[in-house]
Each structure stands twice: as structure tokens, then as C-alpha cells.
């Protein structure tokens, strides 16, 4: 095994907190059960790491295997990074992939130049949701490498078959129940489908609207309605999965369909920070 690969594996394992070590090693699925059983996880981390690196050497770990371990570590610690979104448009690199259950592909890219080999210690991570044209990336070096990113997407195009989703309404077929508003329900379902599509939404955690608009009121003679200056107001929506939550509002009867375009334009405009002013 190359010295650089050994060093890379050693540094990656050192980053992993002890309580996550076994989980991550199992997810990596590179070292065998037998090998894992020979390890004493209670010893000091330094000796533990040395032992693990020796085991990797025995199995002739390659750079790809090491990169995969790095991806898994980053997946577990994704919250420690800040992610930017880039749209795909169309040097030597090291690229590794890992698929997850949410139809997301995690890509790790280590960048090199004409003269140097890829730098494994400053990789870019990209998360690509296969049903959308969007990719989330982490790294400040990206601006330089964006055209290269486009190249990679073209060659490594994922051919995940699109899931067949049951488009029918999930209505209880019990004949003792009569839904008086079935026509309305179907309309809402149709509009929701047209607005959001059939596939899982990209994961977004918040959206922020900065309003600088005049106060509008139905009540005549309301004090605020007579103000000439715009009212400044900040609205923040947050959720573990904001777009799915918005998608479920109308079918749940909490909001009318169609939803306000201010909410539904988020994926389209590729923004989640908005400033709204009167025309």
C-alpha cells in the first residue's frame, strides 16, 4: 500500500470520534468481520489507529477505498459543513461515489492540476439528488473548478431508474364513507402534483422572507393601514424538510391550493432568501 494512502487513512480514522468508530467502519465494509474482531477498541486511540492501518495494509487498501471512508465520515458529519447549491451546466481528479436511500448520490472530488496529483486533503463534496438538476457542494475552491465539475457530471451520469409512483389518491375505499368534497380533493391533489412534481423534494431547512411592504388591512381606519412607510418584517420558515412540509399543506387541508407563489417558487428560482417590496 502506498505511503500516502496509509497516511491518508490514518488521518481520516483519527478524525472519527470513538463512539462512531465501529459504526463507520461497518458502513465502510472494507475490513472483514474477522479483522474487526481482532481489534481492541478500548486501547488508546493512537495504537488503535495504527492497528487499523496495519489491517488496511493487509487488505491492500487503495486510494478509492480510502476516499470512500472519507465520504462516509463526512456523511456522518455533514452538519459541520456549509453547503452551496450549484446547477449543473454542462485536471486530473479523484472521484468517489456513494448512494444513499434518499435518492442522493454523494460525490467526493479531490482536485489536481496539470502539474500536481489530486490533493486528498482538500476535497470537494457534492450531493446530487438524482431526480432534480441540482447539486449541493461544499468547498471554497469550487469557483475555480466549476467547469471541471460540469465535465464530471456528464461522464458519470447516474442512470437510476425513475420510481413508479402510485398517482392515485390515497382514499379509504370503504363504501360506508362518502367524501363529499372528492372533486375538491382531486383538484388539490392535481395542483399539488403540478406544482411539486411526483418525486421527493430536495432537502431544505429554511426559507427567509424580508418584507418591506406597506401594511394591508381589511379593517378601515386601522392605524397601521395609514402608514406611508413600508412595514419591515422578517419571516423565517424552518423545518427538517421544508419543501415536503409545504407540499403537504394543501392536501392536509391546512392551506388552500394553489399555494402562494412566494412559497412554490423556491425550487424554481433556486433561492431561499427573498426580499419583497411593493411594486
Amino acid at each position: 500500500m502506498d505511503e500516502t494512502v496509509a497516511e491518508f487513512i490514518k488521518r481520516t480514522i483519527l478524525k472519527i470520534p470513538m463512539n462512531e468508530l465501529i459504526t463507520i467502519l461497518k458502513a465502510w465494509d472494507f475490513l472483514s468481520e474477522n479483522q474487526l474482531q481482532t481489534i481492541n477498541f478500548r486501547q488508546r486511540k493512537e495504537s488503535l489507529v495504527q492497528h487499523l492501518v496495519r489491517l488496511c495494509e493487509e487488505k491492500h487498501a487503495s486510494l478509492n477505498d480510502a476516499a470512500l471512508l472519507d465520504i462516509i465520515y463526512t456523511q456522518f458529519h455533514q452538519h459541520q459543513k456549509i453547503w452551496d447549491v450549484f446547477q449543473m451546466s454542462k485536471g486530473p481528479v479523484t472521484v468517489s461515489f456513494r448512494e444513499t436511500e434518499e435518492n442522493a448520490v454523494w460525490i467526493r472530488i479531490a482536485w489536481g492540476t496539470q502539474y500536481t496529483k489530486p490533493n486528498q486533503y482538500k476535497p470537494t463534496y457534492v450531493v446530487y439528488y438524482s431526480q432534480t438538476p441540482y447539486a449541493f457542494t461544499s468547498s471554497s475552491r469550487l469557483r475555480r473548478n466549476a467547469p471541471l465539475l460540469g465535465q464530471i457530471f456528464e461522464t458519470h451520469n447516474s442512470t437510476t431508474p425513475l420510481q413508479e409512483r402510485n398517482l392515485g389518491l390515497d382514499i379509504n375505499m370503504d363504501s360506508r364513507i362518502i367524501h363529499e368534497n372528492i372533486a375538491e380533493k382531486e383538484r388539490v391533489q392535481q395542483i399539488t402534483q403540478e406544482t411539486f412534481g411526483d418525486y421527493p423534494q430536495p432537502r431544505l431547512e429554511f426559507a427567509q422572507y424580508k418584507l418591506e411592504t406597506k401594511f394591508k388591512s381589511d379593517l378601515n381606519g386601522s392605524i397601521l393601514a395609514e402608514r406611508e412607510e413600508p412595514l419591515r418584517c422578517l419571516i423565517k420558515f424552518s423545518s427538517p424538510h421544508l419543501l415536503e412540509a409545504l407540499k403537504s399543506l394543501a392536501p392536509a387541508g391546512i392551506a388552500d391550493a394553489p399555494l402562494s407563489p412566494l412559497l412554490t417558487c423556491i425550487p424554481n428560482k433556486r433561492m431561499n432568501y427573498f426580499k419583497i417590496r411593493d411594486k
Binding site: 370503504d174 362518502i178 363529499e180 368534497n181 375538491e184 380533493k185
Partner: protein, 180 residues
């Protein structure tokens, strides 16, 4: 203006029909599923509507009991109920209407004051039931209760009529005259 009348149609043999009116679709569906699991001597039929008037008001079904479900967390829910009430004939309020308020358990989420609902219910001289439909245990109990009430309103319990039930269920303490 299309209005539901209780005696517009002849009762069907051995059938009890309940109409649930409310905006909280998912909760109503669960309540209905629980109700249909109950033992009932007559055949149970459930109509679920978001609001009144019913779209099928050209040929309205016979209804034995109307339950208006108000979600205390949603002003929209209360508004919807108030507007729907205009489409119910006065004779329904002789024991064939009741109100169900959900969400009282989570006080911090309530955007409607309980007093507002109590006043509304008192105006319509009908019983008010409280039940957090989100909690499975409470929901199951309420389902049982509604089925029993339905059977009485439907005339399937000998010796008890909807009007009897109404006088038993109505709270003797309405809001005081000054509050009205």
C-alpha cells in the same frame, strides 16, 4: 341558499348516517376509521365534508347527526364552521347537531380562545365535546361516544330521542347574559 333539513328524506331501514364537517382532513379520516370499527346495531354511513353547503346539495342525503369539528389551533377552522352553520336548517338543532373541539390539550398552539367556541355553541343550543383527536386513545373513545349518540339520534335506542339526549348533554351553565 341550499340548506340541510333533517326531515327532507325518509329514513332508510336500519341505517344511521352521520355527517362530519371540518377542515382537518387527516384527523377526520382517522376518527371515521375508528367509528367504523365500532359495533353498531344499525348500518353506519359516514359523510365527510370540508364545509357546507354540500356539493351534492342537488340531492342531499338523509343525515341523522351533524358533527362540526373545530380545531382550536386554526382560526380558519372556526371561520369555516361559522360559515357552514348558515346552511343548516334550524330544526337540526333539536339534538341532531353537536360540536367537537380538538387541540385543547396543546394550549400553546391554540389560536382560538375556548370561550369563543363556547359562545358559538351556546348560540346554537347544542352540546360541545372536547377531544384531542391527535391522541389515539382519546380519539377511539370519542369514536365510541359519537356512534352511541348517532344511534340515539337515529331512533335506534328505544325510549331515547335526539331531544332527550340534547337536554341531558347541554351544559346548564352557558356564558352569562352580560358576556352575550
Amino acid at each position: 341558499m341550499s340548506v340541510l333539513r333533517p326531515l327532507d328524506k325518509l329514513p332508510s331501514l336500519n341505517t344511521a348516517t352521520i355527517l362530519l364537517v371540518g377542515t382537518e382532513d387527516a384527523l377526520l379520516q382517522q376518527l371515521v376509521d375508528s367509528m367504523l370499527k365500532e359495533d353498531c346495531t344499525s348500518e353506519l354511513k359516514v359523510h365527510l365534508a370540508k364545509s357546507l353547503p354540500l356539493p351534492s346539495s342537488v340531492n342531499p342525503p338523509r343525515i341523522d347527526l351533524i358533527v362540526f369539528v373545530v380545531n382550536l389551533h386554526s382560526k380558519y377552522s372556526l371561520q369555516n364552521t361559522e360559515e357552514s352553520l348558515h346552511h343548516v336548517d334550524a330544526s337540526f338543532f333539536l339534538g341532531k347537531v353537536c360540536f367537537l373541539a380538538t387541540g385543547a390539550g396543546r394550549e400553546s398552539h391554540c389560536s382560538i380562545h375556548q370561550h369563543t367556541v363556547v359562545k358559538l355553541v351556546h348560540t346554537y343550543q347544542s352540546p360541545l365535546l372536547y377531544c384531542d383527536l391527535e391522541v389515539e386513545g382519546f380519539q377511539a373513545t370519542m369514536a365510541q361516544r359519537l356512534v352511541r349518540m348517532l344511534q340515539m339520534c337515529d331512533g335506534h335506542v328505544p325510549g331515547v330521542s335526539a331531544l332527550n339526549l340534547l337536554s341531558l348533554l347541554r351544559s346548564s351553565e352557558g356564558p352569562s347574559l352580560e358576556d352575550m
